[in-house]
Symmetry: C2
Subunit: 111 residues, 2 copies
């Protein structure tokens, strides 16, 4: 076990409800869903937040962004979905391992 | 003028309050701000939404993701920021030209 919850989930040491896995990223259900579908898309690599990205992460980030509509369609979100990325305490980030929230289906949280 | 509002803004044909511009993307103030700082980060290239990305957009998307913390810092958001990408009608997308909302400063919308 490491100190990072999402590293432990990626490693299979902490349980999660996975809906997608590949060599670079995983997607699993948020344990406190804010919508009918609420997933977290998480890189296997530990990166704390968007603040910590450099050009070595470009391929990973492009991969994760293009995963979003694929995973959304697999979840039946044919009409669309919302992606939220919280960066830092002031952005509402709660786990210091980069994660993309994917939300869909009524009720979507207000924006 | 084209039928696309954001293409017209990128081309300088429709006014906007720009805070950042480079060869691939621009950032300007949302005209209906939901937080003290509410910007839209928009590719110059017309892409309708995340649903329309393919691997030819990977470098562009990586560039835009890494722009976010740079633009956030320039806006004084030292404590963090939130990124929201709405895809499709069911995701709350209102303009069919890909855009990343960058929000920060109190009050951040609830999530």
């Amino acid at each position: 076990m490491t100190a990072c919850l999402f590293c432990n989930i990626v490693a299979g040491k902490t349980p999660a409800q996975f809906v997608y896995q590949d060599e670079l990223a995983v997607a699993f259900k948020d344990i406190h869903p804010k919508a009918r579908v609420h997933l977290l898309v998480v890189p296997r690599l530990h990166v704390a937040s968007l603040d910590d990205l450099d050009n070595t992460h470009d391929a990973l980030m492009a991969h994760m962004i293009r995963l979003l509509p694929i995973v959304a369609r697999e979840q039946g979100l044919a009409n669309g979905f919302r992606t939220i990325i919280n960066t830092g305490a002031g952005g509402g980030q709660e786990i210091a391992h980069l994660h993309l929230h994917l939300l869909g289906g009524p009720p979507l949280p207000g924006f």
